[in-house]
C-alpha cells in the first residue's frame, strides 16, 4: 500500500530508536518549534566548534515522522558547518516539494522521507527538526556566507 512508502522500515527504525536525542548542557542558542496543527514539538540547541562546525542536540515529542526526521537530521547535519547543513535542509525541502530527486549523498536516510511528499499534511512534521536547526544556527550567528 501507498502508506508503506511513507512509513518505510528505516523511518520506523529511527522513530523507535532515535539517534542523538537528549539535550546538551552546553549551547549557544536554543529554539522551541511546534507544529501547531498536530502538536509536534522540538527543543533544539546548537553550539559552535572551533573548526566552524555546529553541534546539535534536541529533545522532542510528536508523531513518528517528526521524530524519525529529527533522528535523521542529527545523523546528517550534526557537526557540519552552516553551509553544508543548510544545503541538506534545502535538499529536503525541495524533495518534499517534489522539485528535486532524493539525493542520498546529502540526505542519507532522509531520502526515505520522500514518501511524505504524498501527504501534504505531514510535510510540516518532516521539516520541523530541520527548520529548528536552521533557526537555531542563525540565532547563534553561525550563518556564514559561502
Amino acid at each position: 500500500m501507498k502508506l508503506e512508502n511513507m512509513y518505510q522500515e528505516i523511518i520506523l527504525d529511527h522513530y523507535k530508536r532515535p539517534h542523538g536525542k537528549g539535550l546538551s548542557e552546553d549551547f549557544l542558542a536554543e529554539v522551541h518549534h511546534v507544529n501547531p496543527t498536530c502538536g509536534d514539538e522540538i527543543t533544539l540547541r546548537v553550539s559552535g566548534n572551533e573548526d566552524g562546525t555546529i553541534s546539535v542536540s534536541y529533545n522532542n515529542e510528536g508523531c513518528s515522522i517528526s521524530q524519525a526526521s529529527a533522528s535523521i537530521m542529527f545523523d546528517q547535519i550534526n557537526d557540519l558547518d552552516f553551509v553544508h547543513g543548510d544545503n541538506a535542509v534545502e535538499h529536503l525541502v525541495a524533495m518534499l516539494q517534489r522539485t528535486q530527486e532524493p539525493n542520498e549523498e546529502v540526505l542519507g536516510d532522509g531520502i526515505a522521507l520522500v514518501g511524505v511528499a504524498q501527504y501534504p499534511a505531514r510535510v510540516k512534521c518532516a521539516l520541523l527538526p530541520w527548520m529548528a536547526w536552521k533557526d537555531a544556527a542563525i540565532q547563534a550567528g553561525m550563518k556564514k556566507e559561502k
Partner: protein, 426 residues
C-alpha cells in the same frame, strides 16, 4: 421513538458516494470540524444564485426584493429553529466572529466611555473597569478563549476560569469564581474535544446570582440536539452554520433583544448605519447594526435549508442516533488495550465527540492509518490546547458523528485502530 433512516439520509449527501485512498468507502467521522452538505442545501444555494441573486437590503429592483425576502425568510426560519425572534439573530462569518462581536461590544463600550462618548442607557454592563472579571472554562475552544484574553489585555479586566475534573466535567466547587466583579460567563455547551455537555442551568443560576451575562458557545450543540433559547436562560448563543449541514461562511449570534439594542457595533461600514454625515454616524437597529457590508444571502438560504432538513429528521432523533454511536464507540475503544479516552466515559450529558490517545502511538500516525482505511478523523489539539494540557497530552485522535453515520462507521473506526496498532507494532 422511531429511528433515523440512515440509508435514506446518506443518499442525500453526494460526497458520501465518492471513495478515498485506494478506493475505500468514505467513513466521515470529522463532522465536529465541519459537516457534509445534503443536496437540499446545495440546491437551495444554487437556486438562489440562479434565480434571485442580488445584493440584499439595497436597490428597488425585483431581484433585490426577492433576494432580501429570501435572506430575511432564512433569518426567521433559523431563529425559529432555536426558539428565537428573527430580530435577535445576527448573521456573522462564523461562530468565532460571533464571539468576537460580543467581546468587542465590551471593548468598544469601554473605550467609548473612556472618551466620554454618548452611550445608550443600559450599555453600562458592557463597560469594563480594571479588576472586573470575565469567567470562562478550561474546556473552551480557542475561539471562546482567545477573544476574552485579548479583551482582558486591552481593558485590565481579569480572566478567570472554571477548571475541570479528572472525569472531564466542569469543577464547580469554587463558588468564588462567580462574584460581583464577574461581568460575563462565556462557556461551551458541548466540549468539542471532551464531548462533555455542560450543566447550563447550574451555570445560569450562579451567573444570575451575581448579575453576570452568559454567552454560550453552541457550535457543538445546536447541530446535535434540541436547543431552545426561550428556556435556556443565557444571554448570547453563538454557533456556526457549516457544522450543521449548512454552507461555509455563515455563523450566528443570537442575543437578548435588550442587550443587542445597547451594544455598540463591531465591524462598521455600509448596511449597518442609520444617518451618516462627515462628522459622525448613527447606527441601525439590530440585527443590521452588526451586519456591515453586503451579507452572505446565499449561505443564509443554504443554512435555512439545513435547518429544514434537521427539523424534518427531528433533533431528538438526531441526538438519540448519535448517542447510540457514542455508546458503541466508547465500549469499542475500551476493549482496546492501551487506549485512554479523554473525556467522560459515562454517557450522561455526553455528546458524540469522542477523543482518545493510544499508548506508544502519536495521534497523527493513528489518523494516517485510519485515513488509509477511508476513515476521516481529526487529529491534533482540536483548537483546545488548554484541555490537552489539563489531561497531560499534546494531541488526541477524535471521532465525531452525525446523521449520516451509523454503527458500521463505528466498526470501521475500531478496526482501523487495530490496524494502526498492528502496523506500528504496539
Amino acid at each position: 421513538m422511531s429511528r433515523l433512516d440512515v440509508a435514506a439520509i446518506r443518499a442525500d449527501f453526494p460526497i458520501l458516494k465518492r471513495t478515498v485512498r485506494n478506493d475505500r468507502r468514505l467513513v466521515y467521522l470529522d463532522s465536529g470540524a465541519t459537516s457534509q452538505k445534503p443536496y437540499q442545501v446545495l440546491d437551495a444555494e444554487r437556486d438562489f444564485y440562479e434565480n434571485n441573486n442580488a445584493a440584499v437590503h439595497r436597490g428597488a429592483h425585483q431581484l433585490a426584493e426577492e433576494a432580501t425576502d429570501a435572506f430575511e425568510h432564512a433569518r426567521s426560519n433559523i431563529a425559529d429553529f432555536i426558539g428565537a425572534n428573527a430580530d435577535d439573530l445576527v448573521f456573522t462569518k462564523n461562530a468565532t466572529e460571533a464571539i468576537n462581536l460580543v467581546s468587542y461590544a465590551f471593548l468598544n463600550a469601554t473605550l467609548k466611555s473612556q472618551h466620554k462618548k454618548d452611550l445608550p442607557a443600559g450599555s453600562e454592563r458592557f463597560i469594563l473597569k480594571v479588576g472586573d472579571e470575565i469567567l470562562v472554562t478550561e474546556m473552551e475552544h480557542h475561539a471562546n478563549l482567545v477573544p476574552w484574553q485579548e479583551l482582558c489585555d486591552k481593558t485590565g479586566a481579569v480572566l478567570r476560569w472554571i477548571g475541570l475534573t479528572d472525569e472531564g466535567r466542569l469543577d464547580l466547587s469554587d463558588d468564588s469564581l462567580f462574584n460581583e466583579r464577574t461581568k460575563i460567563v462565556a462557556l461551551t455547551h458541548q466540549s468539542n474535544l471532551l464531548g462533555t455537555v455542560n450543566d447550563i442551568p447550574a451555570i445560569v443560576k450562579r451567573a444570575r446570582a451575581v448579575d453576570a451575562l452568559i454567552l454560550l458557545d453552541a457550535c457543538q450543540s445546536v447541530p446535535h440536539m434540541s436547543v431552545d433559547v426561550s428556556t435556556l436562560g443565557v444571554d448570547f448563543l453563538t454557533w456556526s452554520g457549516h457544522k450543521m449541514l449548512g454552507p461555509l461562511g455563515i455563523g450566528c449570534l443570537w442575543g437578548r433583544a435588550d442587550l443587542l439594542a445597547v451594544m455598540p457595533p463591531f465591524i462598521t461600514g455600509g448596511s449597518m448605519i442609520e444617518v451618516v454625515t462627515m462628522s459622525g454616524s448613527t447606527f441601525a437597529a439590530p440585527p443590521k447594526r452588526f451586519e456591515a457590508g453586503v451579507p452572505m444571502a446565499a449561505q443564509a438560504v443554504g443554512l435555512s435549508a439545513a435547518v429544514d432538513y434537521l427539523r424534518a429528521l427531528g433533533m431528538d432523533k438526531v441526538a438519540a442516533h448519535e448517542h447510540e454511536m457514542t455508546q458503541a464507540t466508547i465500549s469499542g475503544l475500551k476493549s482496546i488495550p492501551g487506549i485512554r479516552i479523554i473525556g467522560p466515559e459515562d454517557l450522561v450529558d455526553r455528546g458524540s465527540a469522542v477523543s482518545f490517545v493510544l499508548d506508544g502511538l502519536h495521534p497523527h500516525d493513528v489518523g494516517q492509518i485510519l485515513d488509509e482505511n477511508g476513515v476521516a478523523v481529526r487529529v491534533g489539539h482540536h483548537c483546545a490546547k488548554p484541555v490537552c494540557a489539563r489531561y497531560g497530552i499534546v494531541a488526541a485522535t477524535r471521532a465525531t458523528y452525525y446523521v449520516y453515520n451509523d454503527l458500521d462507521d463505528v466498526d470501521a473506526l475500531i478496526e482501523g485502530i487495530h490496524a494502526a496498532k498492528k502496523f506500528f507494532g504496539v
